[in-house]
Symmetry: C2
Subunit: 604 residues, 2 copies
């Protein structure tokens, strides 16, 4: 299906917006009048630019409050419309959007509205232009698509049809005039245009909700796939167009936003059975994480104290493999190392079909990473996540698939058996995202990687609120928690951590300390509160207090114990113990942990 995007969804000048839409791969654009008014390009130059970029101008939005007005006001509106139709001819745009009036002066008179729209459509037809009439959710009298369609039907002019907007339809919830089932009653050729926007459910004024909090399909809570099915069944064959008003997108760089936008349409088409992307390949585990570091010693010391063994050495690169149970960490001291310290640069996802997973990611516009490959290297499929983290789709010692470990020569060192205090594997990864990429990263982890999303939670940090959202496979074999910090540009923007799974956190924590490790001290006041909240075995709380172990219990009885290592560069580790089906990530303890980390940082 053809794809289109409204210029208001992207940041920058008109030229920047058009360039970003074309580069991402959109077929067309809706142009907002303000973007034309503010542009130094003439309409003819804009038309040429679009043609050069391979974009059609699918819709133009120049007018409001046209219809249902007294004759003298309508005469003025027609005069203004004539001006705009001439501009549209210069632009080469053939469909004009007319939103239902919000003016307090508009009459509640369907016959009058139909008559005026018919006369507007006659004028438009003289210019070869079609009028698409759209019901705004807060329209004065016309605020459901069914009402708009009744009026269009009554007007009965071939150049007049409806524009359907997913936000305005789905935001009205239970209003029967907004039930998307009724879309099937509209002939497909009278649906002139389809605008798509998702939105998170927010209990607020619908106008504010619409103007500031729309997002791309799949980033919110509206059932866009259900709506699209109805529209396609009605016979609509026009473009899928994104009209998304969002305060963040207005500020973010247009290029990545346009890619994010087109990806959302590809995933939406897949949801209605129209997509061309290969099926999702859900990962089955975390094969490895890769830290790049300019100074290997602190990271190696931390891994050693955690009980990891340096089991392998890359054949051609300055990379070592550290293992414990199923947890694997690569330490890379190569040229990718940044002066600002150790970072989590890559994640290996265990995949039943690495090539298929990479192909899907590429089809869904994830940047494919070039691999500097030595002759003996295993070819790994890799793409970049929105925050730049490299994702490798790979296999670890599995039949018929080449294992990534073949690139590593054994050092001869054998893993130590730490008994119940050992690390079993990676419980989850926690990755902080730039604030303007949070929704994009969420869609990427769901749509591209095939993970399930949990709800977002807000967490109080001493210096602001953080938002966090977890993504995982159904069985928990892959868990990723994405966070976004409070202070744009602040130093915490890129904090990352690796949570390790143990079956006995107390033994694991003691072992870490006795091996020279450090654990984040947690204030005594926290344990006084735990004592007020829950009943513990004698000495149990003393042990937690001594080791800095945090505790959480879910309503279902599941419990979570966790503690934190020292930070190396931007990376730290968490030791965790999940019992009795605990599903969360200890979010309720995050404010105390964050404050303790600030404190530890302040203390040097």
């Amino acid at each position: 299906m053809r794809t289109s995007i409204a210029t208001v969804s992207l940041s920058g000048t008109l030229t920047e917006k058009l360039t970003a839409a074309a580069r991402a791969g959109f077929d067309g654009v809706e142009i907002f009048e303000n973007d034309v008014l503010a542009s130094p390009l003439t309409p003819e130059q804009i038309r040429t630019l679009c043609a050069d970029l391979g974009l059609t101008i699918d819709l133009y939005q120049p007018m409001r409050d046209i219809e249902g007005v007294p004759p003298d006001a309508f005469a003025r509106n027609l005069r203004r419309a004539e001006h705009k139709f001439r501009v549209m001819r210069r632009l080469g745009a053939d469909t004009v959007l007319v939103c239902s009036s919000v003016s307090p002066l508009a009459a509640d008179d369907d016959a009058l509205v139909a008559d005026q729209l018919r006369r507007l459509a006659e004028r438009a037809a003289d210019h070869g232009i079609r009028v698409a009439y759209e019901a705004l959710a807060w329209g004065r009298h016309v605020n459901t698509y069914r009402h708009a369609w009744r009026i269009v039907e009554e007007a009965g002019h071939p150049a007049l049809g409806v524009c359907l907007d997913s936000f305005h339809i789905l935001a009205k919830g239970s209003d029967p005039g907004s039930d998307p089932k009724g879309i099937g009653d509209i002939p497909g050729d009278k649906i002139f245009f389809l605008q798509l926007a998702d939105a998170p459910y927010l209990a607020m004024d619908v106008l504010q909700w619409s103007r500031h909090h729309r997002c791309f399909p799949g980033q919110g809570d509206l059932d866009l796939a259900g709506l699209l099915r109805h529209v396609l069944r009605a016979g609509y064959r026009g473009p899928l167009s994104l009209e998304v008003f969002n305060d963040v997108f207005r500020q973010a760089e247009a290029g990545p936003t346009a890619v994010d936008a087109l990806r959302s349409l590809l995933i939406l088409q897949e949801a209605v059975g129209e997509g061309g992307a290969p099926a999702p390949v859900v990962p089955t585990g975390i094969a490895f994480t890769e830290l790049v570091t300019p100074d290997v010693e602190p990271a190696a010391a931390l891994l050693t104290a955690l009980g990891f063994t340096r089991t392998g050495r890359h054949r051609n690169k300055p990379v070592h493999l550290w293992e414990q149970g199923e947890a694997r960490v690569l330490l890379n001291t190569g040229p990718a190392a940044r002066r600002d310290g150790t970072v989590l640069a890559a994640v290996g996802l265990e995949s039943p079909d690495p090539a298929g997973a990479a192909h899907r990611a590429e089809t869904l516009l994830a940047p494919v990473l070039p691999r500097r490959r030595a002759p003996s290297d295993v070819l790994l499929d890799a793409v970049a996540a929105p925050d730049g983290t490299e994702l490798f789709f790979c296999a670890t010692d599995r039949p018929r698939l080449t294992s990534w470990k073949r690139d590593f020569e054994p050092t001869g060192e054998r893993q130590t058996d730490h008994g119940t205090g050992g690390v079993r594997g990676i419980d989850h990864l926690a990755l902080t995202q730039p604030w303007y990429q949070f929704d994009e990263a969420a869609l990427f982890h769901q749509g591209v990687l095939g993970l399930d999303a949990q709800d977002s939670v807000d967490v109080a940090d001493p210096y602001g609120l953080r938002r966090s959202r977890a993504f995982s496979t159904a069985d928990g074999s892959v868990r990723v928690a994405l966070g976004v910090g409070p202070a744009p540009g602040g130093e915490d923007d890129h904090a990352q951590h690796i949570a390790l799974a143990t079956d006995d956190i107390v033994t694991a924590a003691r072992r870490h300390l006795s091996a020279g490790g450090h654990l984040l001290p947690i204030p005594a006041n926290y344990y006084d509160d735990l004592a007020a909240r829950y009943e513990f075995e004698p000495d149990e709380l003393d042990t937690y207090r001594e080791l800095g172990i945090l505790y959480d219990r879910e309503a279902g009885g599941g419990t979570f114990r966790h503690c934190y290592t020292r930070t190396v560069g931007r990376v730290f580790f968490e030791l965790t113990q999940r019992d009795d089906g605990y599903r969360g990530y200890g979010a309720q303890n995050a404010p105390v942990r964050l404050a303790a980390q600030h404190e530890a940082g302040a203390a040097g």
Copy 2:
């Protein structure tokens, strides 16, 4: 009256919050339990720290969903409360806040709630602690203060009273149980505590509104003075305490936020006749603006082309006075000049009582600026505005007051008479504020300077939304438009401009061009739209197009014509012509102007 602030209203660690509150001059604090849990200080150490800082701990908030629950749950709650009472004794806090339950398990049974609160109060009394019961606006069953008071009355225990919270009372609007008039029915000694927060009217879910968008008194739309009068009339003599949940304050530096907070309480006390601040001295004009610049040539050339004359030279400093009509600009090339270019560093406000105005500003916590004074200098009273702009309260050639112009020796140059193309004076100043200081700056301009506020407006910039709000005297002799840019930390954060008043903008603009000035080019598409919107005299629109003059018309018929000079450093000028009582600032043209300025910047 005693003043207090909740730790949740400030950013940082508990120690940082307490220090900021004490430095601003608060008498006490409300401590949120999370701040204690996350602190490495023991309760005894927190108590000592508060005592050393001269702060009392007026309230502690450790518990939720206490009452209206089945017996076994209540037993657990009492057990938890005992823990918390012991912590409060260690802290030296004698009042505990209990918010009405939001639990779906809470029973709608006033007798049960009263009985359980009485039993809680008995336990509290054993520790010398009072229980203040507060109705949350979204409480499950108890959500008005009148309902909370009925229950407290029924419980009849001396250690049980109500806590009144302005947000929870005023947010409920028309609910009769929330009408503040009924506060007079509560004996003053049963009002154990008063929490104050303002909020802008927002049509959204009250819980989200409360948790993210509260602000300090006078920064929102709630009638806090009306509420406070009722509370004082009831006989309440406890502290005025600010409990403000605000996403911005959570991130901003605690020190300035605490000053802003205390200022709001001082202004609120004044509003109810309890204040000690001297009366406002409303300014009567803008005496001068001062630009500091590392390179005087571009600014001097711009002023010359605008028709200004260099009429004076400061006796002791590298500062020159430029005049045209009543518009005066100082060009300062002294040591305050910054490497990043020309900035608007100071504003002289014409004041009927400069010393009185400065005294009021100082009483309301505006930082008084030290004056490096040479023996012959006129002593000027000056304070810093929240964004650091220096404000001088001064007199220009007025009887019985020393004129600031006495510091300037005449150069002998005389102002040219530019006829109708001349500048009459300063129409308004437009000052961009750091994003986290917008509300503070708004309160400062109203409360400290005595200006009236207009509504905020959102303006679309190509790279994000800008918020703007104007402040003025009733007669328009002083007009200041405060703006906040979209991108925190972006280069536009400090753009400032001086709008000059003319009676004939076309002549003024032509004169500027013929004197070698430049005017911001406005896209032709803007004028095509003007032609569609309004009818103009023949040639009128051509003239505007040629000169880059923007046009606005208000519903009442008032018109505004304006155009923009080249930018020097961070400063540019606007030529304006107001006719027929136009009251605005041309906000509807701002998107086009901002885009044109971005374009001009991009073009070099």
